[in-house]
Amino acid sequence: MSKPRLVVIGNGMAGVRTIEELLKIRPDHYRITIFGAEPHPNYNRILLSPVLAGEMSTQEIVLNELDWYRDNGIELHTGRQIVTIDRVARKVIADDGFAAEYDRLLIATGSTPFMLPVPGNDLPGVVGYRDLKDTDEMIDAARRYSHAVVIGGGLLGLEAANGLKLRGMDVTVVHLGAWLLERQLDERAGRMLQKSLEERGLKFLLEKQTEALIKGESGRVAAIRLQDGVQLAADLVVMAAGIRPNYALAEAAGIYCKRGIVVNDTMQTYDPKVYAVGECVSHRGIAYGLVAPLFEQAKVAANHLADYGIARYTGSVTSTKLKVTGIDLFSAGEYMGGQDAEEIVLNDPAGGVYKKLVIRDDKLIGSVLYGDTADGPWYFQLLKDRRDIHDIRDSLIFGQSLVGDVGHAGNSRAAGLAESAEVCGCNGVSKGTIIKGIKENGLFTLDEVKRHTKAASSCGSCAGLVEQILASTIGGAYTPASSDTKPVCACTELPHKLVRETIRDQHLTSKEAVFAFMEWKTPDGCEKCRPAVNYYLISTWPDEARDDPQSRFINERAHANIQKDGTFSVVPRMWGGLTTPAELRAIADAAEKYQVPTVKLTGGQRIDLLGIRKEDLPRIWADLNAAGMVSGHAYGKSIRTVKTCVGAEHCRFGTQMAMDMGIKLERMLFDMYAPHKVKLAVSGCPRNCAEAGIKDVGVIGVDSGYELYVGGNGGIKTEVAQFLCKVKHDEEVMAYSGAFLQLYREEGWYLERTCHFLARVGLDYVKRRVVADDPGRQALHARLLDSLKNARDPWQTSRTGDAVRQFVPLRVEA
């Protein structure tokens, strides 16, 4: 069955965006044909202003090159204007007679400049300002003539005037209104704008109406006459007095139009086969003239063209900026105000700053910013969110920095949150609870807030937000600690960096020596610093420092994960995710023998036996050991899993032996402890079925070898692994990944995953140490292998001797 045909009239911003959205969600659904009256592929119309001003080239503003159409199988007809829509025969007909049939039709014909109905409006040298042709004509005129008149002091007119002035013309703007941009600005701001444009050499005639355009000897326009009789020389007249939705074609085809093609919330016209988007459309009585709403329409139209049928367009609040370099102007929403609206105005003519906020029912409904537009997006967000602003009304006009935080990279979400909004999802703590905790207990640090409110004390992903709330609650009393200088815990003032370096430089090999030398405030640390210090000791002095089980979290001490009810889980290692019938049989037997309540496949390609009593652990391990299985370290700040895909061993696309490579890596890293857990993956080809892109080390087989990626994370905050280098052989995969992991083991801070480590030291540093420096890499790899030379299966070693004691309960003697 052949695909249905989709025809698009209008190769502009809204039409092509709709197709892009459609291809994203349902790429192969239609045979697509696009007609554009202009001889160009789709370009960014907005940027015609910088092109006119000489700040950008025509080539730079092309959005979709011809290749794009070809690659997506789209039949493009540029320079062909559609003159008829035959809805009965379901076809469109172009000016040259070319016809195309459709199953669905999308009309996106945009709008046309409004040409004042005055004598001479069709003379050569009179242009609208809409497309590349107009722009070229204006640039050409600027080269040959000197006098330009722009009719209309709106956004478009001012951008045109500015561009022509920059191209050396003598430019006068004739404007009907009493001040410039009278639809966006009040009189004061309008005058300020006028003044700064006059300083750039532009001339203005306000409250003037055009009577006629006068022909010169050459037949080209030569002057403009105003109603008050004044006459100005004009070799170029730009009409920027407004736009008219371009719907004549649709109307002629009998599609219902009313100051635009009327569409419903699904962007469908009165003919169910015909959709329309863009400036040609009238939606709920509004025709938009800015791209943001048109792009929203495009998304909705695409959704329905794809037959998904779930999206609705309900209208947009819009904001605009004047694109004249050096002049900052921003306006949004109902900037005009109105009867029941209040206004907050800040006016500093000397400083060149003007701000107006329009408020109704304690909500911001519009804003105009001139001279300082930094807070524009924030106001726009408040406006779109219909946020109640009565509590921040006092300082609203001064901007986000006074209301929100103390400038955390300028993006405070905290200010915008409602009191009842949940901040910490793990512990169900709301913003209100946090603020209450801070105020009642006089909290000043993130740590204190964590302890008192429990917010950010579990997964920690909300820590940044909690910090912002703290900052906005206590204001200047708050000084954020940077992680370089944050103390390890309350037992010391020293940060991780210094503790690590001191252990190395002073050759400290026991926790007692560390606490004494660095003058710990507590006799034997706490649950936060002890595991960190223990890790630093054994990773820095693998042959000298003795591991201290009592400084390890229970999971690492018991070689199993503790559960909420105090039982444990057992995860045997399955090298590279492979297993055998014999292993499965042994697991099944053990599960029955110890009455394991839950047997589950983990996300790490192996099997989890959950709900085992602690005293049974040594016995079940013994059974599994007997079948040749060892600990999977599913509990440790250690090597976890090496996921693999089936690779070239079986897969028709595989380029490398992914399973084999994965097993080799997992064996090399067996029993490796690290600042945090470490996960790897090996995929046999770039289809990447093993998800190597979100692993601490990701290996992707390609025809010529392997690509290595580092620092990925699929947990709390997904981080895509970064490309480290390409290698040829299996041995190099082992050497480079080993060296990277050893660098992390030696220089990472406790509980820092590779992604955090990488963010701190930078990819360049890692490349320098691991890729560029051959002897350095070899040495790192050698140190890794050396520290793993005594790797033992912890299940085996914990089953006997003193080590087994912890699993054996004491009994009260009768």
Binding site: C526, Q550, I554, Q806, P809, V812, E813
Partner: protein, 103 residues
């Protein structure tokens, strides 16, 4: 009233560690040994959500619960502020390297 029972030798509890005592009328009891060889006994149920305190990390005269990190004082079973709660404590005595528990 209380009834002293011999439990084990001091050496059978690791320093900064603990052992679980089963079979008492009061359920599981956690025996802790500090760095200074003091021994304490608490009901092996955290006041928060009943986590097994015996599995926590011992530091100073406190244990931090393995499940959500509350700190509990070993001598009286009180949660360390800002957390609030208490867990039952039991009398312990150490004589000649032998540990006795009053249950």
């Amino acid at each position: 009233m209380s009834n002293w029972k011999r439990i084990c030798q001091l050496d059978e509890i690791p320093r900064l560690g603990s052992r679980v005592v089963q079979g008492t009328k009061s359920g599981d009891i956690a025996l802790f040994r500090t760095a200074a060889d003091q021994v304490f006994a608490l009901h092996d149920k955290c006041p928060h959500k009943s986590g097994p305190l015996s599995q926590g990390i011992v530091h100073g005269e406190r244990v931090s619960c393995p499940l959500h990190g509350w700190n509990i004082r070993l001598d009286d079973g009180q949660a360390v502020a800002p957390d609030v709660g208490s867990c039952r404590s039991f009398a312990v005595s150490v004589r000649d390297g032998e540990v006795f528990l009053a249950v």
